[in-house]
Subunit: 142 residues, 4 copies
């Protein structure tokens, strides 16, 4: 994980996620499926809410084509939110990769990776990423 340590935190998108009662399963920990909600919430923040608030052009359509997720440590109820830190890797004309860490200052709970494809919803077909989209992705890339 040397690459993670060397990257400055400013290049990551930070989403603060409250642990919800509904996240905790009958074992007393955040359920493995619910962590995917944390990643979705962070992506929705990064690709919809943030752009909307900044008055910037939104992305024209994105679909998840793959997730990899490693559960490193159980997360229980806590009053303080955890951070979902997200950054961009491997920007290609039609897709890119997101990497994530769900963590706080002391512990790393989850690491994950998603492949995201640019998609034309109306034509139901792949599309190329636009200039504005590529510029935005580079803000959060290594």
């Amino acid at each position: 994980m040397a690459d993670v340590v060397e990257r400055t935190p400013a290049q990551r998108h930070i989403y603060l996620r409250t642990v919800r009662f509904a996240d905790i399963d009958s074992q007393g920990h955040v359920n493995n499926v619910r962590f995917l909600d944390y990643l979705e919430d962070a992506r929705f923040g990064m690709f919809a809410i943030d752009l909307h608030k900044a008055g910037e052009e939104p992305f024209k359509g994105l679909v998840v084509t793959r997730h990899e997720i490693d559960y490193r440590r159980p997360l229980s109820f806590r009053a303080d939110p955890v951070r979902v830190e997200t950054w961009v890797e491997e920007i290609r004309p039609v897709r890119f990769t997101l990497r994530y860490e769900i963590r706080d200052d002391e512990q790393l709970y989850v690491t994950a990776k998603s492949v995201i494809a640019a998609y034309d919803v109306e034509r139901a077909a792949p599309r190329r990423l636009g200039e504005g989209e590529l510029t935005y992705l580079k803000r959060y890339s290594v």
Copy 2:
């Protein structure tokens, strides 16, 4: 709704809830079931997170015995959170009623009411509300 207008907002518990991508159904609006999550998140804030942050004694066990929920206006994606405003009515020795509004400054989306019973989880039996619990409930009662 005259009683609502006359009550000062300071007596309500305010929980800010972001509209999540997962809340929005295939009709493009927050799904009716997902609004119950909004109420649960507000209750978890009010009865767990807030008390934990304040270093106060937590409630000893509560269960929902009834919900009533009225959907007044559809809620779509928005960058700004909505407010879940919660207050307490009809405090009895073994139960109380919560009333809620999910709203922003302009619109009221949902009104709801829950009956909450004090419950002894270990004995799996009803219990009486304690002094500290009753004092806390009164902060948010009319």
Copy 3:
């Protein structure tokens, strides 16, 4: 509940619902919000899947305007599904009421009631129920 006992079971829509791991919360019981999913699954069975399988005309748009739900007994993990029994009451030109019991042969876990309005999704406006819709509703009405 005399009315329930006197109604013949044949007039109710029966939906068998498996208790899912995700339904069970940190108290070890099906969470109160998750039971609303049971009701939604039963409605989706009654108003979409059943009609589709029978090759019948689907409903033209329905929205929930109110839920009332009473939690009568906790439901834990079980290998056998529970039954969501649904029937129709108070058919009006633009809306109707559903009543539900979530139960098995021995126990009643939840009773609930929903007000459902006919809605024209394209015009985003209320609409009147059609002849075919009214006929279908009467199959499950008292």
Copy 4:
């Protein structure tokens, strides 16, 4: 995927999953996170419900340590359930791998892989798989 074709279907665990209204997101397809629920439902069927129905000894505690999931084709509303086919690979003393296909007779929607570790919930520590557990896993292994 040659190995999949050569494996006889009889060695796979088959779980029939209804497409629920709540699974479908604002794009009109089953949401990528919801498919993880399909996998969880299949695992719960395989490791809890089936064993319970057969009167067999249940597993003593399992945790997911990794998921990989590939989205191959969008899945929309349909009246008929899809099949979650699950089989076992790489059985080790303390963990095993599950592979899954979510499919019907014509199409493959999702392929996935999970690493599952044997866990002692009371001691909050890894444990070795027991004889009965290993025997059960072999029923579904290549």
